[in-house]
């Protein structure tokens, strides 16, 4: 096979594929027409159950969306490439509104939680991982076939209720439409190939996927990409992991090499083009796949293909896909070093997940050892039993809000909303213990309210967006004839996330230090100062900002308090029944949006923070507050029991590039990883400062107080350096990140 163009020549096409691609209008309808027709169709079919209506709408899109098979690419192109304008958006939004308007009883409460900034909430259709192994083994036709046999079984035993029938109809229509769509792609390719060998190869690949399961590396990658696009862009359910690629693709890779079907160079090329798809989509959350894991015999899953994929990723110099590495003591040092080396060159889109700690956390909620060992890594750094669990994120707690509510007796000072929990205000707070009790009561009340709301709306997930394409891949869903993203998985998990955890600890500790211990001011005075956003009290603000009791510095009393709060979260949330036959899990993860938006809705806080400023994220310290270095930070973070946060427990570690130079730098990063793993940390992400961050540190020194520059024999805080010396390090960082 001769490739038509080189990757370099094709990059222009690939980068524009999800921004402004060009489609032949003869291949289908424009997206506005499709969206309008979908709504019309849904109106005509409104007497039918939702899985069927949605499947018909899916079928309509599959038949009419514009398509392309381009000589500049190994992968096909969908005319519905715009994530913010998907063909079924209108339909799902309509059903969503219907639920809001007619079925929910907690809408006002949810509105209050959101507006006050106490808790972000929402229905989540962004975190699915299909059973990739089943998709590989069966292919699209086999998935349909398997669903048919489950349907027959049910029919034979007299259990094909109308609801079950709708469920299977939805799958039947969807997968038939998928196969037809593959046929459209194939025929288009054959018609327009014009002798182009790559287009012809793509046609052959599609033909094979229409006939049965994938048979080689190229077909398997095409299948992943097709499923991803079909689920995310057509069926409107986001795919949050491309799977354990080095494990799943390995047999095809071996076979291709052995049988001489493809050379290693060709396989590298397939992976490069494959990864470029996701780089080109360029969603800020990144599209992850993961490496590694442990086989049944205790050996690492890392193999030659792991190295090959990482190599190609490195060469592309892209930041999506986001790579995740499942590590354990069996992970080859060489592989970790290779990953770490990529990170220290400024590529921060890689995260490590510690298998032994994941196992503790998952088995703690009832997963088996096997389920914990083989769990999928998904999303940013979440983990879920492979093919047996779904996870939704339903709530995002603002850990600072309960403190404001404690000071204002349950009425949020930001939007003036009464959240309904009376703790007596300042009169009832005479000691730090009183404040702590009021804080927890307010926090508990927010959690209870959030759970009430989520229980209410999550009952209707399958009404709003039945997930036909996804459900068909999940065996338990087929066996129960229940939507796999609703209650049809074995583990139907809703997670509650947090934002501002460290900032809340800092704030509580600052009150303890300045109000109750040093008695520099009364609680009433503090409340007034905070209300006025520290105006006229800048010195006090700086003193409280620089107080000694900040999370992330390995200080016993502070870490103990952090541990207390984290335990409360875990105890309050974990294993509570959710609205769809599963349970809640606590998570310490903070998505980027929420440390900003929650911050915007939070007034000044006693840790010295100004009103509206961002709050901390994950289990990481408040920006600039960890001044004792990374070892102290890891000690602080892992003083908390990660198993209490089985939905996620991620730490961000900032390192100066000079710290991690040379062989010693590799050893150092590996040591941090191992220590974090040994102390039961779960996810860890290293950010090696790039030149831009250092420039930011130059103008915002308060946020970077902890940033240390270290080279042989000496060590200095970046902000202590003169401007000229800082410039020198910026120049050096520029050289490192190229």
């Amino acid at each position: 096979m001769i490739a038509t163009g080189t990757l370099e020549q094709d990059k222009a096409y690939l980068w524009s594929k999800f921004k402004d691609p060009v489609f032949d209008p003869d291949t289908g309808l424009d997206s506005e027409t499709i969206k309008a027709n979908v709504l019309k169709l849904a109106e005509e079919l409104k007497h039918l159950p939702h899985p069927v209506v949605k499947a018909r709408a899916f079928e309509y899109v599959a038949r009419h969306v514009r398509i392309d098979v381009n000589p500049h690419d190994w992968f096909v192109a969908f005319g519905c490439y715009d994530r913010w304008n998907r063909p079924l958006d209108g339909l799902v939004a309509k059903w969503d509104r219907e639920v809001d308007d007619t079925r929910l009883t907690t809408l006002q409460l949810m509105q209050n939680l959101k507006q006050s900034g106490a808790c972000g909430m929402g229905k989540d259709f962004d975190h699915s991982v299909p059973d990739w192994d089943a998709l590989f083994a069966l292919g699209f036709p086999g998935i349909r076939q398997r669903a048919r046999s489950y349907r027959r079984r049910r029919q034979d035993s007299g259990q094909l209720t109308p609801e079950a029938e709708a469920y299977f109809d939805g799958i039947e229509i969807t997968y038939t439409a998928i196969l037809d769509m593959l046929g459209r792609f194939r025929d288009h390719a054959l018609k327009h190939a014009d002798g182009d060998e790559r287009v012809l190869a793509c046609a052959a690949c599609l033909d094979s996927l229409i006939q049965g399961p994938p048979t080689n590396t190229y077909e398997v990658l095409q299948l992943i990409y097709l499923y991803f696009m079909i689920s995310e862009y057509v069926d409107r359910l986001q795919v949050r992991s491309l799977g354990n690629l080095d494990r799943t693709v390995y047999p095809y890779y071996r076979k291709d090499l052995q049988e001489g079907r493809y050379t290693e160079a060709q396989i590298r090329e397939f992976f490069a083009y494959f990864m470029m798809q996701f780089a080109s989509i360029a969603n800020p959350w990144g599209h992850p796949f993961y490496f590694g894991g442990t086989r049944r015999d205790g050996q690492s899953e890392i193999n030659e293909l792991s190295y090959l994929i990482l190599d190609e990723f490195d060469k592309l110099d892209i930041c999506s896909p986001k790579l995740q590495l499942k590590i354990s003591p069996n992970t080859p040092t060489e592989f970790i070093d290779k990953a770490v080396d990529i990170i220290r060159r400024g590529r921060n889109s890689m995260v490590f997940l510690c298998e032994p700690s994941i196992k503790r956390a998952m088995m703690g909620y009832g997963a088996t050892e096997e389920e914990a060992r083989t769990c999928d890594i998904t999303g940013c750094y979440e983990f879920v039993p492979r093919a047996r669990g779904n996870t939704t994120i339903v709530a995002y707690l603002n850990m600072l809000k309960p403190l404001e509510l404690a000071l204002y007796d349950g009425v949020d000072p930001f939007a003036g909303i009464d959240l309904g929990c009376r703790t007596g205000g300042l009169d009832a707070i005479r000691t730090f213990d009183d404040l702590h009790a009021a804080y927890l009561k307010q926090l508990g009340h927010i959690i209870e309210s959030a759970i009430r709301c989520a229980n209410d709306f999550e009952q209707h997930l399958n009404f709003i967006n039945p997930t036909n394409a996804y459900s068909a891949t999940i065996e338990n869903s087929l066996a129960t004839a229940r939507d796999a993203f609703h209650d049809g998985s074995i583990y139907n998990i809703s997670s509650i996330l947090t934002a501002g955890f460290a900032t809340a600890v800092d704030a509580m500790m600052a009150v303890r230090e300045f109000v109750f211990e040093k008695q520099e001011l009364s609680l009433q005075q503090l409340k007034d100062v905070l209300r006025d956003n520290w105006k006229g009290h800048e010195k006090l603000r700086l003193r409280m900002l620089q107080g000694r009791s900040k999370y992330g510095n390995g200080i016993d009393a502070v870490d103990f308090y952090a541990e207390t709060l984290s335990r409360f979260l875990g105890n309050k949330i974990n294993m509570r029944p959710n609205g769809r036959g599963g349970f809640y899990l606590a998570s310490m993860h903070t998505p980027p949006r929420y440390y900003l938006t929650h911050g915007q809705k939070t007034g000044a806080t006693p840790d010295g923070r100004l009103a509206g400023e961002e709050i901390s994220r994950n289990i990481s310290p408040t920006m600039g507050m960890d001044i004792n270095g990374v070892t102290a930070l890891i000690r602080s973070a892992t003083r908390m029991d990660s198993a209490l946060h089985p939905a996620d427990f991620p730490l961000d570690v900032m390192l100066h590039p000079a710290t991690v130079e040379g062989d010693e730098g590799l050893v150092a990063m590996r040591t941090l990883l191992n220590a974090y793993m040994q102390r039961h940390g779960i996810a860890i992400q290293f950010n090696v400062f790039d030149a831009d961050t250092l420039i930011d540190a130059q103008s915002n020194p308060d946020k970077y107080r902890g940033l240390q520059v270290r080279v042989c024999g000496w060590n200095v805080h970046f902000t202590d350096l003169s401007r000229k010396e800082q410039d020198m390090f910026i120049r050096r960082a520029q050289n490192i990140s190229g």
Binding site: A632, G662, E664, C712, G713
Partner: protein
């Protein structure tokens, strides 16, 4: 009476000062006055107040607490009279700009041990503690006592020395030290004296004796533009090291300007302006040195 030393910094997660990840304790006081010294706050043994002028917020908090009246506000600007300062550290606590830092607080052996033990989980890959400075061998009893205790804790103990102390100091710590980091600057006595204030005679003699003791030694050579980076100096250094046993590696440390540190402690910086040698330059010198010394370069 517990043995006490002035400590000016505990550097955690140090990766270039001995094997693995280490905690480096920097003690104050040094017999040498190297012109290029990048830890000038380690030279004097008495405490010194570092003042980072660019971080000062002109808040005036320091004025009230200083028993010596060393801080004053004039026309809304903060002025520091270093001559009056006795290094009590009171002003560091109240400074709102984090512009003041007391260099040199007394620590006991047990306090130092606790600092080191806090990070013991990070020493897995052969890491441990490194005593550095200043010159730790100005306090041989402290070093010996700390190492004795830490070795009982299973911690790898390294000592970074300039060698300009009596041999009896080495004898005191030798039984308890797992590794020496030994700084060598120049082979030529006169030039050494001119740039560091002392002849290298004692340093070279101690090194030769130490090399016979069987404890691993890593040689550390600061590469200082205009002082020891010329081919003649490099070759002479190489010959000095040639054939010495126990040397596990020779490490070259590129010169780094430390002007802001000098400014902070109000100490004149006599080092003429020089750039950090480029990696290529460092590699070239390393090659020359490897050849003339016959030792392994890092």
């Amino acid at each position: 009476m517990p043995t006490v030393v002035p400590l000016f910094e505990a550097k955690r997660f140090a990766v270039h000062d001995g094997p693995g990840v280490r905690t480096v304790l920097f003690v104050k006081g040094c017999p040498l006055r190297c012109r290029w010294c990048h830890n000038p706050e380690g030279q004097q043994s008495q405490p010194e107040l570092a003042y980072y002028e660019h971080k000062c917020r002109q808040c005036g908090e320091c004025v009230a607490v200083c028993p010596q009246g060393a801080h004053a506000m004039a026309d809304g600007r903060h002025v520091f009279n270093r001559a009056a300062c006795i290094g009590c550290g009171a002003c560091e606590e109240v400074c709102l700009g984090r512009a003041l830092k007391l260099m040199g607080r007394p620590v006991t052996v047990e306090q130092a041990r606790q600092i080191v033990l806090e990070d013991c989980e990070f020493y897995a890959d052969g890491g441990g503690v490194t005593l550095s400075g200043g010159e730790p061998l100005l306090y041989p009893d402290f070093c010996a006592e700390l190492f004795t205790r830490l070795k009982a804790d299973g911690i790898h103990c390294a000592l970074d020395t300039c060698g300009a102390v009596g041999w009896e100091c080495f004898e005191r710590v030798l039984p308890h030290t797992d590794m020496f980091l030994y700084d060598v600057k120049h082979a030529d006595q006169a030039r050494h004296c001119q740039y560091t204030g002392l002849s290298n005679r004692q340093i070279v003699e101690n090194l030769k004796r130490l090399a016979q003791c069987g404890v691993p030694v890593e040689i550390r050579i600061p590469v200082i533009p205009g002082f020891n980076d010329d081919p003649v100096s490099v070759r002479a250094l190489g010959l000095l090291l040639h054939g010495l046993p126990s040397i596990v590696a020779v490490r070259l440390l590129p010169y780094h300007q430390a002007h802001s540190k000098y400014e902070a402690i109000g100490c004149p910086d006599h080092m003429p302006d020089a750039d950090t040698p480029t990696p290529a330059r460092m590699a070239a010198i390393a090659a020359q040195l490897a050849e003339s010394s016959g030792q392994t370069l890092r």
